[in-house]
Structures are given as C-alpha cells and as structure tokens.
Symmetry: C2
Subunit: 308 residues, 2 copies
C-alpha cells in the first residue's frame, strides 16, 4: 500500500440550494479528498492551513478516519478560509456569494517529514505554485502525481499552471476547463493537446454527465449515477479525485487498466457526496454502502456483446 | 427474425454546419431509421410519402438495402417535405431555417398488406394521431411498439400524444423533452412518471452525453462515443432509434437485458451518422466498421471490479 499526500483547502462553507441552506459547515477540497481517500484505509495526510476558529472536532473527524492532520497548520490568530455559494435550480451552476481567503492568503504548505516519501501525491485545486511547492518537498519523484485545477488559474496564473503541469502524471479538470486550456472544442482533441503539456493521463469531469479518462489513444468513460435527487453538489469533484487517488494508492497499480477502476470508484464516491449537504453523507459512509453502489455502477454500464 | 415496420418522414434536407453546407440532400426520420435498421438484414418497410420531385435513386438506395419502399406513397403532383437548418458552433443547438410540409400535410400512412403482421413497429417522429393510425392498421398487437416524439407535439397535441403513449412499449425522447413531458427535473423521476403514462421502457437521449434506458427500477446507460469531430448531427437520434429497433427485430428478444445491447447498437450506429453530412456515412457503412465500433464501445465502458 502506498502513502498518499493530499494538499488542499480545509475550510468553512455556507451553502444554499433549492433544498435548503446551511450555516458555516466543514468544507474544502482537502477535506473532501481526505474523506474519500479514507475509504481505502491508506496512510494519507492532508497538508493545509486553518485559523484559530477551526474546531478541533473537525480535525478529529479526519484523524479518526486515519487521515494524518499533522500537516494542517493552525494559525491561532487567523481565520479559516470561508466560501459561500448558492446553487441555481438546475444544480448545474452556482453563484459564489462570499470568498474570504483569510489564512489561505499566505499559505505555505509543509509536507510532514514522514510523508516526504509518499508514492502518490494529490494536488487539490490551489495556486499552481503552491501545488508545485508540495511536489518539490518530496524526497523523490512520486510514482503518481495528480493535479486538480480550475479556470481561475487559467485566467490569472497560466504560465505557473504550465510549469506545474510538466511535473504531473494526471490532470483532473471539467469539460469547460479542458476546452479553455486546450482551445479545442472536441474533448478528444482537447485531451490530446493537454497530453502535450505534460500529463500522460487526462481526466475530464462532466458533472452529471460523468467523467472521461484519456491516455494516448485510449479512452474510458464512467457515467455519473443518475439520481432521484441531487441535494448539494459541493465537493463532488474533490470526492471523485479523492476516490481516484485513494484507490490507486491502495492498489499501487498505476496502469491505464487500473485507472479505469479508479475512475469508477471516484464516480461511485462522488454519487454519495451529493446526497446530503457538505460532508454529511461522506462521514457516515460505510464500506457496504460503497459495495452496493459499485454494484449499481456495474448494472448501469456493463453489457454482453460477443464480437469476433 | 421479426418483421419491422417503420413510419417516418422521407424528405429533403439542406444543412449548414461550421464545416460546410449542403444543397437539398436525402433526409427524414424514416430514411435514417430505415438505413440504420438495414444493418441487421431484417425484413423492414418504410411507410411515408414523397412528392413527384423525389428521385427514384433515393428510393432505390433504400430498396437496394432490403428496405421495402412499397409503403412510400408518391404524390406525383406534390412536393416532398423539405427541412433546412443551421447548426451553431457547438453543434448542440440549431436553428430551423425552412420547414415546408408539402405532401406531409395530408399524409395518411398505409401499411403494406404484407407488413400488417410485423412484430416490431417503429413510429418515427410525426403527429401522434398519424403514429396511432399505423398501430391501428396492424392485424394484431405488435410484440414491440417504439415511439419517437418531440417537444413540438407536447406543445400542440399533448392529449393525442397521451393517447398513443397508452399503446406503446418504448418511448425515445431527449432529456429536455423528458423533463417537459413529466414536469420532473431529475431524469430518474421523469422516467418513473413517463412509465405511468404507458411505456414500460423509457429511452432518454442526451446527444453527446449518451442515452439512458429505464425500466421499472432498472437503469442502463450508454455513452456517445467521444469523437474528434462531429460533422453533422442531423439524423443521429433517428439512426439510434433505427439501430435499436433493428437489433430487437433481428434478435426477437424484447427483454431488458437485450434492450441494453440494442441501446449500444443504436449508439454505435449514431456515432457513424454524425461523421458526414446527411446519410453519406450510413450508406457507405460496412459490417466490419460496425464491428470495430462496437469494440470501441466495449473498450470505452467495460471494466473489471470484483464484488463479493
């Protein structure tokens, strides 16, 4: 089993959807990635920063699930990163209401000594230079470096993004971001162009329309599970990434064939995340729930056609 | 092998896409359905109407592929239905430029005597009462009646649509139409509601995002093949329906398990249709092309996860 180091925000979210609204609750990419990866019982650590206002209970929630929190710096006189957003009726788009960077503004990630030899590194969505700094702290090149990013960095730190992209194996972005980054409308053409920027594997997340994995001329597609009700999409993409990274760290097999399974695990975990507000569903998730959901994914996608 | 009777337009199309534009070329739902179904060498007949301006070559193109055209009425002093449309840059939306109903305005479908015992009936998109009239001409209730429709009939002939829906087994509509027909946003909830209107099987077509098959609590998903270039989406939905109906007529197995395969065949054939203008790709399609494409669909979707 490989060690997994995760960098990403640990934050407060306040969310409004057609189904209701929350006060400040636990959120952040690092949190969702860590919770998803914890399903695989790998040795993982989250590298992040919070303020003195961050409840110990929230940190315990991660460490109780075998996620090392020693890399989460606590700035006692600072405030935790806060994001608030409101989803539209179709749940596919949202408005950001508040973004308070707070302690994140001067975040300088420090990888715990015992995780500098981790084989898998999951770089959650942050400034590309922050992501690069984590990679540079590793004692040796990881076997697998996965990067998540977003259009914001393409708009305001594109050269830095290009730089970190040269050092990673897998990039996960959504379809619109893939188009923006590549200048190509077709996702097949976009993935091919993104390959030339560094990552050998390109995962394009299409939300309710599933996810595509590209590697050279190979493609694999995992649908999102059609749900009766999507309650809160916050964290679904990070949960996908955490499931993907956690499965690969657990199995130590970084082949395309195994990545197909990782995409299915990521999709299955993400399908739980959206069922409740914030992390609520993920912290109550049992191994048997996951097993049943994976069975549902098989039912949804597998068919028998004999070809000669 | 079952006989298949198809009702649908046989028409002229003029199409403009970012890749070019055509003069009047062969089009129409009945044409695309017939061409797709012809891949399965079933006994099929298209019931339609054309004007005296319709070239014999176009009719021969169907009959050469074992599609019976004796149910295509030729109104010598009338003009063939003509549709012209222009696709936007993303190819997902289009504007209709011209719709000339011509002989379609007084279309009274007549099922050839030798097809009144067909086991499979494919009702292409037409006025619901026209679709119903075909069903009523059958000597006995078909083993499988499939209906394709669109938002236009929901807007202007909803009660008639409800009437014909009570007599069919499968409905194929797109995601927006499923939402309009059911008043439900979630496609899972939409399909459940549409079941109560008649059809036991609901196929929701999501264009580049694939297709979903619903039956009671069972779901199956087939992606669209991600393509380097979509040249002309015209006829893709009808080609899907023709592949679906043709496969089921060929195999005479109307179970959910076999319908899953039919959805894959439909998706595979539709992925060819969009590669060229109009029917160009479909008339040049070889069995070996289809075999290879089905292999690509397996590669795209099949995975091995052992669950206990």
């Amino acid at each position: 089993m490989s060690k997994l180091v995760i960098v990403g925000t640990v934050a407060f979210d306040a969310i409004e959807t057609p189904f209701g609204k929350t006060d400040k609750i636990l959120g952040g990419a690092g949190t969702f990635i860590g919770l998803a990866a914890s399903q695989f019982n790998v040795d993982s650590a989250v590298v992040s920063v919070v303020g003195g206002d961050f409840p110990q209970d929230y940190l315990d929630l991660l460490s109780d699930r075998n996620v090392d929190t020693s890399g989460i710096e606590i700035v006692q006189d600072g405030k935790t990163f806060f994001w608030s957003g409101k989803y539209h009726n179709d749940m596919n788009s949202r408005d950001t209401l508040v973004t308070e960077l707070n302690v994140l503004e001067h975040f300088n990630p420090v990888v715990p000594e015992s995780y500098k030899d981790a084989e898998v590194v999951m770089l959650g969505n942050l400034h590309p230079m922050t992501q690069l700094s984590v990679l540079k702290q590793m004692n040796k090149k990881p076997k697998l470096a996965i990067l998540d990013t977003m259009n914001f960095w393409m708009d305001c730190a594109l050269d830095d993004l290009y730089t970190v992209m040269k050092h990673i194996d897998v990039i996960t972005i959504n379809d619109e971001e893939a188009r923006q980054l590549s200048g190509e409308y077709s996702l097949v053409a976009a993935a091919r162009k993104i390959h030339t920027m560094g990552p050998q594997y390109v995962v394009i997340k299409k939300g309710e329309h599933g996810a595509l994995l590209f590697h050279d001329e190979h493609m694999f597609y995992a649908p999102a599970l059609p749900l009766e009700e999507v309650f809160d999409p916050t964290g679904a993409g990070d949960t996908f990434a955490g499931g993907f990274a956690g499965f690969l760290a657990k199995t130590e097999d970084y082949s395309f064939e195994n990545m197909k399974k990782a995409v299915i695990y990521g999709s299955a975990l993400a399908s739980f995340c959206v069922e409740k507000f914030g992390t609520e569903r993920m912290v109550n998730l049992k191994a048997d729930d996951v097993r049943k959901r994976l069975h549902a994914f098989k039912q949804l996608t597998q068919f028998e056609i004999e070809l000669t």
